[in-house]
């Protein structure tokens, strides 16, 4: 983990309440897709954890949904502004555990980390496929970016206004040998039950510090107590206790 100042290159709306922000700064601490950053915002005491969507040598892309005061403040931040960021938090997805044909499953704002993961899987010589779930057509983002990677991509909408009608679990038709998922808890649970292979699931929790100091985000697993921020947010399917 590193603490640094990152400059906002752009901060743009993708849907009614989902935003994409590009931050320029040191990315040396990012070691795996699925890690997150923790952002200090003016007027708020606790930092706000946001997953890393994509990164390169120059900066980080994050995608966030405006749900509370923190993300509302983030959406008001202007290009050129500097943010105090803890970078490279959490374990992330271990690409070496993933199969040759891993299905990456994202639901809503669980989609962003799956983009960086899909790229990392490709870089490792694997052939991922993607299933992206949204409530309705207006809420879809990043479908084009996934397709631009040249990977088989299926979009589901709960109301059937686009793609496959239903949930991500209704689109797990292609054969796959491993899965990685990020999304709301009911989705993760459905994926856990619908998949026959091993896999990795990324969890969310309210955090204090984000780097393992405060025990604010602990959960029980079959491998013992874990901190979502430090020992997670990615857990193995086999260790999860619902």
């Amino acid at each position: 983990m590193t603490q640094g100042i990152y400059r906002i290159e752009y901060n743009r709306r993708l849907t009614a309440d989902v935003w994409e922000m590009r931050l320029t700064g040191d990315t040396g601490a990012v070691t795996a897709p699925g890690q997150f950053i923790n952002i200090k915002l003016e007027g708020l005491f606790l930092r706000r954890p946001i997953s890393i969507c994509d990164w390169d040598g120059e900066g980080i892309t994050i995608i966030y949904k405006v749900v509370g005061r923190g993300t509302a403040a983030l959406s008001g931040a202007e290009p050129g502004q500097d943010l105090d960021v803890l970078c490279g938090l959490g374990n992330g997805f271990d690409v070496s555990k993933c199969g040759e044909r891993t299905v990456v499953i994202g639901g809503g704002v669980g989609v962003p980390p799956m983009y960086g993961l899909a790229k990392a899987l490709q870089k490792a010589g694997k052939t991922p496929i993607a299933v992206l779930g949204f409530n309705k057509k207006e809420e879809i983002f990043y479908e084009d970016q996934f397709r631009a990677l040249g990977i088989e991509t299926t979009v589901t909408t709960v109301d059937g206004s686009y793609g496959v009608k239903g949930f991500v679990t209704d689109a797990l038709r292609s054969s796959y040998d491993y899965f990685c998922a990020c999304g709301p808890l009911p989705m993760l649970k459905a994926v856990y039950n619908a998949t026959a292979t091993s896999g990795l699931l990324s969890f969310e929790e309210r955090m204090g510090c984000g780097f393992g100091a405060c025990m604010g985000c602990s959960c029980k697993t079959k491998y013992g107590n874990k901190r979502i921020c430090k020992d997670g947010p990615v857990l193995e399917k086999e260790e999860i206790i619902w």
Partner: protein
Amino acid sequence: MVDTSVALSGIRLDNPVIPASGTFGYGAEFAELYDINCLGTFSFKGTTLSPRFGNPTPRIAETPGGMLNAVGLQNPGVEKVIAEELPRLREIFRKPVMANVSGFSIDEYVQTCALLDKEEQVGWLEVNISCPNVHGGGMAFGSSPEAAAEVTRAVKAATKKPVYMKLSPNVTDIAAVARACQDAGADGVSLINTLLAMRIDLKTKRPLLANGTGGLSGPAVFPVAVRMVYQVYEAVDIPIIGMGGVSSAEDVIEMMLAGAAAVEVGAANLVSPFVCRDIIRDLPEAMKKYGINSLTEIIGGAHHG
């Protein structure tokens, strides 16, 4: 050259800056970030006789100028702390450490303290009789002078190490509790633990924390802590470790002027992981700015004249 050193019960600290229990684990997470040997010492995660998972989540909430926590004393239990954490600590920290202890009965406090008494690296015992986030113990012992004195007496009989009783601000008269601890043999007192508080989620219309209530900490409580340290300094002759919302070198000086012999830094560690290193770096400059040559000399300075 200014002198930042202080002493707690005869043990010298290079500076008065002590990360507070529950915000610093057993040191390992911060040792990855900086050399923690720059610290005066640190108070390790509240340790109980048996392992504890703590409260359900959410355990954390934002507040104006601070935060709530209701972790509920999650810790691996004293035996595992001694077997696993302390050997690891010796690798990263070469100073005496402050062992923070909690319990649910006097017997538990005594057993835990007796086990830690044998550990060479433990310099002081900080006995938490003020955790607001557990039921049947914790704060109950710190809520009355009589109960606080009873724990103090029992723990003092079980250890040769200096005992600092960590006091709750959730009482009518904290000075009376501090005096009772002193009379029962405490070597010092630590204050303040967090203030009992609550937030309610407007969307669910339920308390935000799974535990309902939590403990308030952060800059919002700093003036409350300064006031209580000031009051306790008037009431006792034993050293006070002051804490509550301390975030800067100036805050450390203010807390010492109120009467603190050393100062703990809590919530600030969670949002600024390098804050204790930075406070220690900034202290000499802040001392010069206010014409202070020795920190020891300013303890309780606000009471004179």
